[in-house]
Symmetry: C2
Subunit: 645 residues, 2 copies
């Protein structure tokens, strides 16, 4: 039926029945890896991003890391608390888009949607590139192939997601839990070593780290803020759980809120622990190896890899295992976006802000078109930025904090509406007020962070996002206006009746008398037309004579009209004749019947029907005309037919 049915089945599995949708609901132990691999895994690079910025001020400013990390932990706690309220308030799924739409209006909702779409793409790109960095830290010989590896992993993820959510959950549980386990194991090793008096040193501890410039006063404050902004990558993806509440097992809201809490605990402890060890071990990192006094193109390790190598020491198998799980969880973190993006696109399609085909579920219960779109956009970014994490990360987080701020502000409004209801029990009223307060703190804090991020990252690449978001915003508005206009234009009056054409004037296009022509003539006659004529365009007079003779020999009782073609152009005489028929029969239907050859092999198709295709494209814009292609399957082309199953 489809030209490639088998390879598709092999890659995406059997289609699933709608009735089995209930089966795909997630227990907490599977929901955590699916929705939280993004925020959990980001601790693998958040510390390093802080160190890269404060390192610009040399060794003397490394202590700023403590302040930045503390601020990030604070924001993380507030955001998690804030989103837990959303899980309860929106059991049907409360992503920034829905919350903004319901509480702040359409423009806020579209702003949130633009922000989220951009950030989903960046989540995929950043996580996968960072995962590849974890691999190349452990296996330096792979160093030159970052781009190919990253693109390959994105493609792999897209394929897995096309197979459906539940199988993804199982695949993703192992690396996520493995990553958390080995990070904690590393903390235990480190604690034992420090307790026994042997504090390890990072391999880069002795490398010189010179100040790029001298930071004092406002510059120092800005540097600290920039370090904080870079570390905020640890916060991405918290949104995903509140969006995915309907995918949880019952009680959905409570399970989701609990999962969010677990995630928050893991994130805060792991981020704090890794940052503390980085400071204790004197990890020195820089964008270019030359900044550390190393020759250019020296392969360097990530901060986390350095800490792990120093901590595990001679037990190298643990180092390699941690790197493997880090790479795994990072690459799978991109999966959060593969869950969120198609779901958001589907909601946007339902509200007619993006093309309707993003609303269709594919045959594995997931949103195939959205998955493919996301994968292509992420691959595009990876190629554009040559898989360089430092540059990609500059575009990141803006969108997250735009949607955080809108979402929390919307929640404040939501509680106000709820509290305005009469007859609310006093206990509920107190609970709602508490929720509102939490969301208000969240809104203000994330709003402040957004301003900090915008100020400190704008010139470092964030301007690209600042341009992309309004473009997406305007594009979605244009699509919405188009659908609204079409919907108005096709609406019918209460007394509208089906069209009643005054006769059907049928013209059969002919170039020779053969089996396809006989079929088309027969079909045309089965339409019981008001009038029936056959048309031939006289490009070669000999052909016309031959056809006339055959016509008489076979005693075809359809009149044959010969159209002269002074410019040897096939299309124009037909269009003119059709327009003439149409003008003579106002209110009538004019039908052009074209015999179409169906051949068996792809390369044979361009050898046929070219003139017919050109004509059809032109007739499409001729009012009152309907084109009917009567397909004639060549005996040799029947292998591809659909048959009763």
């Amino acid at each position: 039926m489809s030209p490639f049915p088998r390879p598709k089945r092999m890659m995406v599995g059997r289609p699933l029945d709608s009735a089995r949708l209930g089966e795909t609901l997630l227990p907490k132990r599977l929901a955590l890896p699916i929705f939280c691999s993004d925020p959990l895994s980001s601790v693998a690079y958040a510390t390093e991003e802080i160190l890269l910025v404060v390192g610009l001020g040399g060794v003397a400013l490394l202590h700023l890391t403590w302040y930045a990390a503390a601020a990030i932990v604070l924001v993380l706690v507030v955001v998690v608390a804030s989103y837990r309220q959303t899980c309860y308030a929106y059991p049907g799924g409360g992503g920034a888009y829905i919350v903004s739409a319901q509480n702040l209006g359409r423009n806020a909702a579209l702003t949130a949607a633009s922000a989220l779409l951009v950030d989903y793409v960046l989540t995929v790109a950043v996580s996968v590139v960072s995962g590849v960095a974890a691999i190349t830290s452990a296996i330096p010989s792979l160093g030159g192939h970052d781009m190919a590896l990253s693109v390959g992993f994105v493609a792999l993820l897209a394929m897995m997601n096309l197979r459906g959510v539940r199988e993804s959950g199982r695949v993703f549980a192992v690396p996520t839990y493995g990553f958390v386990f080995f990070i904690y194991l590393m903390f235990v090793f480190a604690a034992v070593r420090i307790a026994t008096g042997a504090t390890p040193r990072a391999e880069s501890a002795e490398l010189p780290l010179h100040a790029v410039s001298h930071y004092t006063g406002l510059a120092l404050v800005l540097l600290g803020m920039r370090a904080f902004a870079s570390g905020c990558t640890a916060l991405t993806g918290v949104e995903a759980i509140s969006n995915g509440v309907p995918a949880f097992r019952r009680p959905k809201s409570r399970n989701a809120a609990t999962t969010l809490l677990i995630m928050g605990f893991f994130s805060v402890t792991m981020f704090a622990g890794i940052t503390a060890l980085a400071m204790l071990y004197d990890v020195h990192v820089a964008v270019e190896p030359t900044d550390l006094g190393l020759p250019p193109n020296t392969p360097t390790s990530t901060a986390l890899a350095q800490i792990a190598r120093a901590t595990f020491g001679e037990v190298t198998v643990l180092f390699y295992l941690l790197q493997a799980f880090t790479a795994g969880v990072l690459i799978l973190a991109a999966n959060t976006a593969f869950n969120g993006f198609p779901m958001l696109a589907s909601i946007l399609a339902e509200d007619r802000f993006v093309p309707r085909q993003l609303h269709n579920r594919g045959d594995r219960l997931v949103f195939s078109n959205g998955i493919i779109l996301l994968a292509l956009a992420a691959i595009g970014l990876i190629i554009l930025f040559k898989a360089e994490l430092t540059h990609l990360i500059q575009l990141y987080i803006i969108g997250v904090f735009v949607s955080f701020t809108l979402s929390q502000t919307g929640m404040v409004r939501h509680w106000r509406t709820v509290l305005a209801e009469r007859g609310l029990p006093a206990r509920e009223r107190v609970r709602h007020r508490r929720s509102q307060a939490i969301n208000a703190v969240g809104a203000v804090l994330t709003g402040v962070v957004l301003v900090v991020v915008l100020i400190t990252k704008f010139t470092h690449g964030a301007w690209i996002v600042v341009i992309a978001m309004p473009l997406l915003f305007m594009g979605m508005r244009a699509v919405h206006q188009h659908y609204a206009r079409v919907s108005r234009e096709v609406a019918i009056a209460p007394d509208a009746r089906p069209w009643e054409p005054a006769g059907n004037y049928v013209l059969v296009l002919v170039n020779a008398l053969n089996a396809p022509t006989l079929k088309a003539l027969g079909y045309a006659r089965a339409m019981r037309p008001t009038s029936l004529d056959a048309l031939i365009v006289a490009i070669d007079p000999a052909d016309v004579r031959g056809l006339r003779e055959q016509w008489d020999a076979h005693d075809i009782d359809v009149p044959l009209q010969v159209l002269s073609a002074p410019y040897r152009d096939f299309t124009r005489p037909v269009i003119e004749y059709v327009l003439g028929v149409s003008a003579r029969h106002p209110g009538g239907a004019v039908t052009v019947v074209i015999p179409e050859y169906l051949v068996g092999r792809w390369w044979e198709q361009p050898l046929h029907n070219q003139s017919a295709l050109r004509l059809k494209a032109r007739l499409l814009f001729t009012p009152g005309v309907t084109v009917v292609s009567v397909p004639y399957r060549l005996p040799s082309g029947r292998a591809r037919d659909n048959r009763a199953q």
Copy 2:
């Protein structure tokens, strides 16, 4: 009507009437530049190609140039004499393809066709690149832009040819005659200078030319043969006149043969003169400037430019004029191919060896598709070989000599057939015998040259052509076999009658009750079907309920069939339902009517009809089913309509 009617008109001019075809016949003075710019212009680089090869043996072997040039003049005279016979024998046009087809059979004809197609493309590429070299010899600052300039000129030529033959003739007369005039003027200047005892020296005369290797014995013979093979580029394009006999004014054959003679005289004298001057002036050339002891990337001049600069001396305006006309004639030489290629493609299409659309004349009386195809192929080669003449030229000439040999061999056969006729007057018999003898000499000589060219150029790049030609050959055979099979498959018995379907079972696809649906329902009813049903796929139960209510409210008397879609896939339930109807009514026609939205702007189109398109593609391969798209033009999309003119 077409989306871009105005730009096309601006570029290719008004369409020409078939009746005006006679007007485009060419007088000799216009036929010469159109058909002969290729062989005439090739004297601009033929000498240099010889010098490049013999130069590999150092200054000591430069004298081999005399022998190579003499051999080339001999071959040129024989080939011209031989093709003059063809002009008389084939007044309808006697290209290698036609002569081979009529005298040697289909495989020989297809071999000739493959050779010609490859060489037309190379003529365009080599001539244009060489023309650009003439420009950069005069204006060294343009040196870095060879590729862009070459591609631009090919595009320009394609555009001019899409405007039609006659205008081309006028445009091309000036540079061709100008080139011939200035070459002879240069000979006059040179003769005067030499007669007055002041033999000029080339600017490169003092540059060292070291032997790359020491050539003796067989190696020396091979080097001489390779020099000869390279110089044979002077022979390309002689074919064009014999192919273009029908384009000449009456008496066609005689005018063509005379034009060929004039061309031969110009070619031989110019080639001989330029080669003699190159030897007298001690022109030294090499592929790389470093071979002449110059720094890498030094801009060097072509051999012809050096001769001209030395000859005209202080009268530099004449040097610049000659370079301008050289560039002009070379770039226009490519035009020979733009005449020959589409004509050959059209003949091949008529014989069903290439897709039929290459047979259509466009609306300027020329073969638009062939012109576009040729331009694209030449641009591809130029980009692939980075516009480097020395590499392109290695692929050249093989094809020419394959077709020369086949054509002349075919002519020998032709005369044998003619001579076999009874009652031929004695005088005619003598004339035909003479022609046969000339063609026999031509066949043997060109065959020998072909072997020489193959041996000496194979490893230098000619192998590409040796692979490309059989591929083209097989491709054309496959196309031919396909058309032959289709033609057998669609042929009808003498008593065949139009199809008489046992009823027409019509299904209208519906997703909402709106204006497009009402139009489609009305059209379906106008087909007066045996049965009429509306189908809705139940992806969302709420939609189905809404539609049912509307259906009743509007009192639509077409039964509404709701198809369940357990996999939320729109296509499969429809296909299955259609197959069911088809199975219940064997011998009947099943028609699926789909409302189609027509919007006004290109970006709006993908927002609609996507599910319908997918369904149509699948239904195409469902036997006995015809799909009818009933277009509904949205009021806002009516700007593009065709209207009675």
